[in-house]
């Protein structure tokens, strides 16, 4: 692209540092290159885990064994969960778009600790390799589910230790990224960019980073305790040794519930960037969005017990957790109203990123409302551990975080690569994806209410229709995913050259070249106005 006269400077993609070729990527401390390293590794694992998910669905197309035996099935849903949660969804948005765009959006040349940033990618890869190795080494794929509940996880003869270690290491990588982002945001904002002149995606990353830092160590030590129980017979969770299995659930969810907010907050941040740009209108209620991000992070830290309503925790405990769960709905709803109000009266340009962002709201709402159903003590007893729960968290995690990720990649793709994908094909892929998603997961709500348990290998004839429709949806969804991937990969080199600001965005990343130069800014910009000020077009 350097031959193209349009660009006066060498982009980060062709910049030659100390190392050449592939080493220039593997040893690069450039936040943009590290962002892409994450993107490729996460995309790879996403496809792997999505195919595992498809296999699970195909197995469930009819009652009884279809294409695999029960133990393989247990291994599949466990590894699907571990890869999706720990490798794809938790790091996902932060590590890819956070790394790539956080420094650019706050007007910095890099993150605060560039070498530490590269190190966290290596730790991430180490954890990912261990997670995959747990499939093959020793006693077979772990079959505990991604939640590693004791007592089964301390007795299962499968490869649980590998998976636990992998999760521990991935957590460490996530902590380092979190530290990096917090310090970056504190120290490297461009001159003049006060806290409340910062765009909202960095804000959401800031809230997320704090949860990463303050919650992840708890799960780290918990996983170590399970390892200690397996290896050293230190039985903190083993009733025979005086321990308490419920304590594991407390400790596990102290991290893993906030982890849900680690997933969804950056997703909200991404769509918050997209709505103003495609409505050409300042974001509605900037302050409300900032405060609700922080409120979600803060309150979300204290709701872990709503995963344990049926385990026999105390009455007051259930009361407390249920109450706080309903409280979290308030800041989440505030955000939804803000997004809709942002679009109201704007000049809406219905391009692919906005399609994904709008479907994000739709799916997130369904996921959120069913979350309230599960947060209510009485209905929870009925719905606990049914496929209703599976549908709920897929609507939040895939419909929320996943669709926001797709929205983000379609939004920032021209900036990252300097090329434009085929918008028509992207829209069609969106349609297929969106249809497949709903056909896949909506029936699970219904059979869940009717009593279909989650994680079961086999089921009664009465659930056949629901499962059958769901599997059809899975196939449509996979087709959609591959259409999208094809579009993004094929047009990476063949697409039309993208201008530096194809969507008429106003945040800092659109003020620099596409793709950005190695140091992002020739001169660190000085910020004088709040973000999201659009010039009226006459």
């Amino acid at each position: 692209m350097s031959k193209n006269e349009k660009y006066s400077h060498e982009s980060y993609l062709e910049y030659q540092g100390k190392y050449k070729g592939i080493w220039g990527w593997l040893f690069s401390t450039d936040h943009k290159r590290i962002g892409l390293l994450y993107l490729y590794s996460i995309a790879f694992f996403f496809v792997v885990a999505a195919i595992l998910g498809l296999l699970i669905r195909i197995e469930l197309i009819a009652p009884g064994p279809t294409i695999m035996d029960a133990q393989t099935y247990n291994g599949l849903f466990t590894v699907h969960g571990i890869i999706m949660i720990f490798i794809v969804v938790i790091p996902g948005l932060g590590a890819v778009f956070g790394n790539f765009f956080l420094p650019i959006m706050i007007g910095a040349k890099d993150v605060a600790f560039p070498r530490l940033n590269l190190l966290s990618w290596y730790i991430f890869i180490l954890g990912a390799i261990l997670a995959v190795a747990s499939q093959f080494a020793g006693g077979g794929a772990p079959d505990t589910g991604w939640t590693f509940y004791v007592p089964y996880s301390s007795t299962s003869s499968t490869n649980v230790i590998f998976a636990l270690t992998a999760a521990f290491i991935l957590g460490f990588s996530s902590i380092l990224t979190g530290i990096n982002f917090i310090v970056t945001i504190h120290r490297l904002r461009a001159p003049g960019m006060g806290w409340f002149k910062m765009p909202l995606f960095p804000w959401s990353l800031y809230a997320t980073a704090w949860i990463q830092v303050l919650a992840t160590p708890i799960v780290g030590i918990t996983l170590l305790m399970v390892i200690a129980e397996r290896v050293l017979q230190i039985g903190f969770f083993d009733p025979a040794l005086g321990g308490d299995p419920l304590l594991f659930q407390h400790l596990f969810w102290i991290y893993s519930h906030p982890a849900v907010y680690i997933m969804i907050l950056p997703a909200m941040g991404v769509v918050t960037e997209i709505f103003p740009t495609f409505s050409q209108k300042p974001v509605f209620g900037y302050g409300a969005i900032v405060i609700s991000s922080i409120a979600i992070a803060a309150v979300g830290y204290f709701v872990w017990g709503h995963h344990m309503f049926t385990t026999g925790i105390s009455y007051w405990s259930r009361w407390f957790f249920s109450f706080l769960t309903f409280i979290v709905a308030i800041p989440s709803a505030i955000k939804v109203f803000n997004w809709i109000s942002t679009m109201y009266g704007g000049s809406i340009d219905l391009k692919t990123p906005l399609l994904y962002a709008i479907s994000f709201i739709f799916l997130f709402m369904i996921g959120g409302f069913t979350g309230l159903t599960l947060g209510a003590l009485a209905t929870n007893v009925h719905l606990h551990d049914t496929s209703f729960v599976v549908a709920h968290f897929h609507y939040i995690i895939f419909g929320g975080m996943g669709f926001a990720f797709f929205a983000g990649i379609h939004y920032w793709y021209p900036k990252m690569y300097g090329r434009m994908y085929n918008i028509k094909l992207a829209n069609i892929a969106w349609g297929v994806l969106f249809t497949g998603f709903n056909v896949l997961y909506f029936p699970l709500f219904i059979i869940g209410i009717q009593g279909m348990p989650r994680r079961y290998f086999d089921y009664l004839e009465q659930f056949h229709t629901g499962h059958f429709i769901s599997t059809i949806g899975a196939i449509i969804l996979i087709i959609g995913i591959f259409m999208m991937l094809f579009n993004l990969i094929y047009y990476r080199h063949r697409g039309a050259v993208a201008p530096s600001n194809p969507w008429k965005g106003v945040t800092l990343e659109w003020q620099i070249e596409s793709p950005p130069t190695h140091e992002n800014f020739e001169e660190i910009p000085e910020i004088k106005t709040p973000p999201y000020l659009f010039k009226k077009e006459s």
């Binding site: 504190h186 303050l214 419920l246 407390h250 102290i254 830290y301 204290f302 017990g305 026999g312 925790i313 105390s314 009455y315 007051w316 405990s317 407390f320």
Partner: protein
């Protein structure tokens, strides 16, 4: 480094150490005196005072930015909250 960096004197470090050693003695003595159920409360209070001293002088919090000070305080508050909320379960079960 900016010139407002505070350099603690050797003597002040010595004084901090002496107070910490005295507190250690106190907590050992307290356990001998058998306060019954309050023993643990007293021991933890003394430990918290010691922790406060280490944080303030040895770890230089006294001379750090407000942000770091508030965050350290916040972390301890957060942990206490987690502890209390977990015990809402264990106390009323």
């Amino acid at each position: 480094m900016e010139n407002k960096t505070h350099i603690s004197s050797y003597e002040s470090h010595g004084r901090v150490l002496i107070s910490l050693l005295l507190l250690t003695m106190l907590s050992v003595l307290v356990t001998w005196m058998e306060f019954g159920v309050f023993t643990i409360a007293v021991a933890l209070t003394v430990a918290s005072v010691k922790a406060f001293i280490v944080l303030t002088w040895f770890m230089h919090l006294k001379f750090e930015s407000n942000f770091i000070r508030w965050m350290v305080a916040g972390v301890f508050v957060l942990f206490t909250l987690v502890l209390i909320i977990t015990f809402i379960d264990y106390f009323f079960r």
